[in-house]
């Protein structure tokens, strides 16, 4: 029996490696883009401009208030009707960027809000411009508050990449589906899928726990 499983594993593992590679690629690109956009939006959200605040607020509310699958469908099936046709892979990246940046925006805005008003005033009084105030004084301090939930959000984002399988991107979950159709060992297939996801996210979970302990002073 074990020998049988083993031979099956040998037979299917190249597909899984390909799926794992695709998942890693989506995850990596998404984490980078979500972080960049998320920080920018978070800074807008905590700015003094009521217009910027409102616009970002609506964006965040919309993204957080709708299921990720629906967002993917909108991007993949509905945008083409308005003339924007994307392949599955770029559509997946776009969907991830929109969804992830909204969550990271809230984390960043929360971190910036936690900084005492006096820090802004001291930086202002000394003649620093707004960008310098953020870069040199506010964000470095806010990172202490931002970092633990940010890494936690990364774990969620990595797991959420599985949802893009619905539009046919050949990542880990999709590979699992396709494999299960051909061979009957569903338990083995999805256990393998689970283990592979875990192998990416567990180091980040450990990092998140570590940061949480380290920053909780």
């Amino acid at each position: 029996m074990m020998g049988f499983y083993f031979s099956r594993l040998v037979e299917i593992y190249p597909f899984f490696l390909k799926g794992l590679w695709m998942t890693s690629k989506i995850a990596f690109i998404s984490l980078v883009s979500c972080t960049l956009i998320g920080f920018l939006l978070g800074i807008f959200r905590s700015s003094n401009s009521i217009v910027l605040k409102r616009i970002v607020g609506v964006y965040v509310a919309f993204v957080r208030g709708t299921p990720f699958v629906v967002q993917i469908f909108i991007i993949f099936f509905i945008l083409p009707e308005w003339g924007l046709q994307l392949d599955a892979f770029p559509a997946a990246l776009l969907a991830m960027a929109i969804m992830g940046s909204a969550f990271i925006c809230e984390i960043v805005a929360g971190g910036i809000h936690s900084i005492h008003k006096g820090q802004w005033e001291a930086a202002t009084a000394s003649g620093l411009n707004l960008v310098q105030q953020l870069r040199l004084v506010i964000v470095p301090q806010a990172m202490k508050v931002i970092l633990p939930p940010l890494v936690g959000q990364y774990v969620l984002l990595i797991k959420d990449t599985s949802v893009v399988s619905v539009i046919g991107v050949m990542e880990l979950t999709r590979v699992g589906w396709v494999t299960v159709v051909r061979i009957p060992e569903g338990l083995m297939v999805f256990s393998l899928v689970g283990v592979l996801y875990f192998s990416i996210s567990y180091p980040l979970i450990l990092l998140s726990n570590y940061l949480e302990r380290k920053m909780a002073v």
Binding site: G118, Q119, A122, A125, S126, G127
Partner: protein, 242 residues
């Protein structure tokens, strides 16, 4: 050097600055006192535009502070500000705190900025703490670093917003000593404070505010010994009996 012309400011319905007219010549030390909520902090916070005014004009060194086209960086470089709660940057060492504005605003070379910063720290007697973090210092030391940080831009004006009010009594002296030294160097200073000893010793004029208005202004001797208004007399008797 600093001129207020018919300045008015409201926080919502509260009229915090009511028709303020005031001239502060170069080299003057002006002490501002008054009950809490009288507008004295707001008054000095308008000088470097930490607060905006709704009516009137403030002119610093011929620069209209509240003009849209005013180069705020240039304006603020001439004005050092010291806060009641110090507001040092906690993630930076003392030296980095003092160097930050010279390096980033004046674009001074790092090694030169370090020399300037160390000189200013020497002035406040904290050279040996230059590599400590603010949290490792006492309140008095933190406030002295904050003064050094304000001085690092070589300002012509120093503004102090209740610089000793957050300090333990035994630390007030060291901060006032640093300020008295500044006076002897001819710095133009506006100091919101209730330290009457300091006012009597170094102030050229004392300004008493209440309800957003300048109620009385005069030399320290005239103000403390012979206040012209009942409101000022009442205030003086209250702070002197405690």
């Amino acid at each position: 050097m600093i001129e207020f012309k018919n300045v008015n400011k409201w926080f919502g319905k509260l009229h915090v600055l009511n028709n303020i007219d005031l001239k502060i010549p170069k080299g003057e030390v002006l002490v501002i006192c008054g009950p809490s909520g009288s507008g004295k902090s707001t008054l000095i916070r308008c000088i470097n535009r930490l607060e905006k005014i709704q009516k009137g004009e403030i002119i610093v060194n011929k620069t209209p502070v509240h003009d849209k086209h005013t180069n705020l960086t240039k304006l603020r470089a001439q004005i050092g500000f010291v806060f009641q709660q110090f507001h040092l940057y906690p993630h930076m060492t003392v030296l980095q705190n003092v160097m930050l504005a010279p390096v980033n605003v004046k674009k001074i070379d790092k090694s030169d900025a370090e020399k300037i910063a160390l000189k200013k720290l020497e002035k406040v007697g904290l050279t040996e703490k230059s590599h400590a973090y603010p949290a490792q210092l006492s309140g008095g030391q933190q406030q002295r670093v904050a003064i050094a940080r304000g001085l690092a831009m070589s300002p012509e004006i120093m503004l102090f917003d209740e610089p000793t009010s957050a300090l333990d009594p035994e630390m007030i002296g060291e901060v006032l000593d640093v300020m008295v030294n500044l006076v002897s160097e001819g710095m133009t200073m506006c100091v919101v404070t209730h330290e009457m000893g300091f006012a009597k010793k170094v102030a050229d004029r004392v300004l008493f505010m209440d309800d957003g208005k300048i109620v009385e202004m005069g030399t320290p001797d005239a103000f403390f010994d012979n206040p012209k208004t009942d409101r000022a007399a009442e205030f003086i008797s209250k702070i002197l009996t405690h």
